[in-house]
Amino acid sequence: MTSLAEGPALDLDLFSDAALTDPFPLYKQIRDTAPAVYLPRYGAWAMGRYADVRGALGDWESFSSARGIGLNDLANAATQGMIIATDPPEHDKLRNVLAARLSPKAIRDLRADIERRADELVAPLVERGSFDAVTDLARAFPISIVLDLIGLPQDGRDKVLGWADAAFSASGPPGPRTDAAFPLLQDQLAYLSGIEPDQLTPGSMGRAIYDAAADGLIKPESCVPLMSAYVTAGLDTTINAISNSVWYFAQHPDQWDMVRQDPSLIPAAFNEVLRIEAPVQFFCRVATRDVELDGQTLAEGSRVMMLYASANHDERKWEDPERFDVRRNPVDHLTFGYGMHGCAGQGLARLEGHSILGALARRVARFEVGAPQRRLNQLIRGLDALPTTVHAG
């Protein structure tokens, strides 16, 4: 039998403060070494090239999610049965419950309301002139929208964001960051377990989960994990995409001018922000068989980090990948993953992002930002603060 660790290896630490602050040089090293590189510190492989990552994400039979998507056993056990950590047929039943409420068709009727909320949030901030693009804009928006859509009671909402942040970070490698995050993931699950279905707004996405269990479409024990999927996946991700948008357009005023002159570029511009700064840096898969990768064999049982953020910067796929270009329209970036586990909420995320960019484009001529403060999380890349001044026009 092939050793699990046979093949090119790099002794990289992807989770130091320095690496979490700027992981891109390490990703390039991984991409330039081999299709898959063994990282002995984590007992896992890293896949960093676009074609390989996309290929693996599209092949769930060879690259399973059911043994967990994280880098430590505790988190992989705690997330067992969550949609992100399932394969068909279980996966498909859970996905149908989410898709019934989150697919583009299902959220069409939300557009007017979300655009109105974006205008109501952005107008007074622009009037003020100076604000924090993370706390005042990027966090305020998805929190109000997503928690209303899930139908959560007001009580406890203030803790939800911290739990969501921790729920991601808890899937890092064993160590102090994971130890700090894991209890918060448990708190989130305890909070969600304590919510009675009738406390959720009638007609909400949360209530629909319990209705699906009552109708026998999913098992009752799947309700809390699905609630956790909504609460975790719908916040930090969109929050970072929105604050990154402000950050990038402050640095690239010429690109902002293009968007303002032609607002039909907004979807392409949002795609480019997502490509260049993927909020979710990676999830893992486990090889269910020996897999051939461009002359290299990845042994059955190998845990493989799918480096979405690296794939989005792969020189083999993107021309001049470090250039921020709103005309690129990289519709096939991997920020939402790809394939069966492709982000179920990406329609809503896009709707939120496009609405905020539209509301800003109608009012803001220029962004000026101070030094961004980064929030270090083992899976999510984003900002904690971004002092922003806008010039109306």
Binding site: S103, R108, M340
Partner: protein, 63 residues
């Protein structure tokens, strides 16, 4: 070459219809309709683009 839609996976993002408007269309209900199952030679590149941009891998091409 034929376009095959896995209807159980399709969630109606519509990026494929933007990439290949002569082959695929989102109707007023948000459901995907295949306008031309057999891909004409001059639509081949668009068909491949449509497959490439599907976020959930619900489309494929078969000989």
């Amino acid at each position: 070459m034929r376009i095959i839609v896995d209807e159980a996976r399709c969630e109606g993002y519509g990026f494929c219809a933007e990439a290949a408007p002569h082959l695929l269309e989102l109707d007023d209900e948000g459901e995907l309709t295949v306008l031309a199952e057999q891909v004409p030679e001059d639509e081949r590149a668009n068909a491949e683009a449509a497959v490439r941009v599907c976020p959930v891998a619900a489309l494929k091409l078969a000989p």
